[in-house]
């Protein structure tokens, strides 16, 4: 055995583990944007939260290849868990965040078996059905959730020090940034681990994955629960930074929008959701400022073109563009 080959294998397996310069630049730039545009803190916050939500979808769609049209279910569960906790005077954001993630993970774990059988189409419909059922459940239990009127509440300070309301918009964005970054780093690690590799195997060829001794069903259940927890955390953040939850969190369009974001940015490389959320929300903001009634048309057009041109090609383009921009930023900064 040659030491050279050994080294190359180690390097190959760990090649995505080391943070690359372009990645570091990406996160620094994101942080810089929060400070550079204090007046857009609310929009940036929305992007960060949506980015986390899209990341949650990437965990199952991008890593494990499981399609879902019901990711809103977990967004809603997480948001309502955090909101209900806050309305019981447990207003500490960290507690709410944990509760949101946990509640969503439990629901995810409980519903994951529904995904094990059937084809993509069945999965799309089952996940959609579950989100609709949960939405109706929230609607029917108005005593707890506020029903169709929504539930508003006041939020405590992050870590007991930083208010995140209107006067603390930047705090809110920084809070979301911190949560996104930590969860992203975890997801990144997970993707790079043997577990992540096993998910890639299941996505690429479930039959062979099983033939290598991988308990494919359990892995899918596990990643679905993790994905649900991420979506729940996004929901909790959304609830906490807006201090209101309403039934539209469970709506079909939430699940559809997050899928668009992820697809725009490209699934499977974890940055896609965040970039896609940025592009989608900024585009929506700009177009809808110009034509509040007709902005959907342009998003729709973008989507049709995206599918027609081929997602893979566009995804590759976005990936390369993003890393080049980041490198350029690094060079300019140096």
């Amino acid at each position: 055995m040659s030491a050279e080959t050994t080294r190359r294998i180690e390097a190959h397996l760990g090649r995505r583990a080391r943070w690359r310069i372009s990645e570091i630049v990406f996160w620094l730039a994101l942080l810089a944007v929060i400070f550079a545009f204090p007046s857009r803190a609310a929009l940036i916050n929305e992007i960060l939260v949506a980015g986390l939500f899209a990341l949650s979808l990437d965990l199952i769609l991008g890593l494990a290849g499981i399609v879902s049209l019901g990711q809103a279910a977990f967004l809603g569960v997480g948001a309502y868990a955090a909101a209900i906790l806050a309305s019981w005077d447990q207003a500490d954001p960290t507690l709410g965040l944990a509760a949101g993630a946990l509640a969503a993970a439990v629901v995810g774990f409980a519903t994951a078996p529904l995904l094990l059988r059937g084809a993509d189409l069945t999965r799309l419909m089952v996940t959609l059905g579950v989100s609709l059922l949960l939405g109706e459940l929230a609607n029917r239990n108005g005593w707890l959730t506020g029903g169709a009127d929504g539930l508003e509440f006041s939020m405590g300070k992050v870590l007991g020090r930083f208010p995140i309301g209107f006067t603390g918009q930047r705090n809110a964005a920084l809070y979301s940034f911190a949560v996104l970054f930590v969860l992203f780093a975890l997801a990144r690690r997970l993707r790079q681990s043997p577990f992540g590799l096993a998910l890639a195997a299941i996505r690429e060829n479930r039959l062979r994955a099983g033939a290598l001794g991988i308990a494919t069903s359990w892995r899918i259940v596990a990643i679905y629960a993790v994905s649900a927890a991420y979506a729940g955390a996004a929901g909790a953040l959304l609830a906490q930074t807006t201090q209101i939850v309403s039934l539209d969190l469970f709506d079909f369009h939430r699940s559809a929008d997050v899928m668009l974001m992820l697809i725009i940015g490209g699934a499977g490389w974890l940055y896609g959701g965040i970039i896609g959320a940025g592009v989608f929300i900024v585009l929506r903001d700009v177009i809808s400022a110009a034509t509040p009634e007709y902005w959907e048309f342009w998003i729709g057009l973008l989507l049709v073109v995206l599918v027609m041109v081929g997602r893979d090609r566009l995804q590759e383009y976005v990936r390369r563009a993003a890393s080049r921009v980041a490198l350029r930023l690094a060079r300019d900064a140096a």
Binding site: S39, L43, G147, T242, E293, A321
Partner: protein
Amino acid sequence: MTAKRWTLAAALCAMLAASPALADENTVTVGLILPMTGPSASTGKQEKAGAELYIHEHGDTVAGKKIALVVKDDTGAADVTKRLAEELVGNEHASVLMGFGLTPLALAAAPVATEAKVPEIVTAAATAMITEKSPYIVRTSFTLPQAAAPMADWALENGIRKVVTVVTDYGPGVDAEKWFGGTFEKGGGMIMQKIRVPLKNPDFAPFLQRMADDKPDAVFVFVPSGFGAIFMKQFVERGLDKSGVRLIGTGDVTDDDLLAAIGDAALGAVTTHHYSADHDSPENKAFVAAFEKANNGMRPNFMAVAAYDGMGLVYKALEKTKGDASGDALLAAMKGLSWTSPRGPVSIDPETRDIVQNIYVRKVEMKDGALFNVEFATIPDVKDPYKASKR
């Protein structure tokens, strides 16, 4: 290529940074947040047209200040409303927030109004408690108790004793059920059954059948504007009108905007509300004519007039403060203001910040080849009974 991508990123940042027309000293920005897309889009369209009409008629300058109206689409999602409110205030330096199509949307903006000390003028959402959620909320639309309670009085006076109520199952619906029912029972009437219909409901048949089985004197109905057409049509289709059951309700079900669409099925329905396009006053005739002219023949409804008055409230408050657009000054000026709206005389209750207005009893009739809510009785100066009851 690299340069091109670099430009792309720069463009994204620029879009992010863009703050339209940096507000100067002499501009007062009014942020109008409405659902412009999705199922409540018709509300947004009416409101936007109403607010724009006011500016068009009264010029864009008042007390030396230029008025800038910024319209934002919140898609009916509360978190977007909240974000837009924050941005309008924080980024575009809006002095007034206005609009809010549904109760949760109005509530979402309330903390922003409170913290930023910016008046929030609610021109649509009609759940009574909304104004209690922030001392900066002022309302120019109406509250459901305000419209529903007088209906009970009228019903009692007109020999109706047994009623089934049908309301949509959300804040305003529950308000309507409670205030019609409460007032009606206090006056000696009997509520035979209270039916709540889910918000997303394409078919009223089973509910209508339930009420038909009870054989009431009348059915009291509240559905959000837009659902009125289905309800009325199915009511007639089921033959309930011919079996002698009267249809009463708040004006939402016979929305002016939809009457033509509902057609003859609406004939004879008696409702109480604060505005009818048929209201007989010179102010209203001018308003309706100007609105239809500006909007391709679209008939204004109570949403349009509320936004029109909301805009008017801003103008009048600014005149009173002599151009001082700070939140507290505007709010103080708004309290107690009174004027003549297309709907009749109105004023802002200084204590509750809700609008005080006449409630009219109307009946749908054919007039000059078109259907109208024709007013035939007036209950003057009605305050929101919900807040009055709490005192």
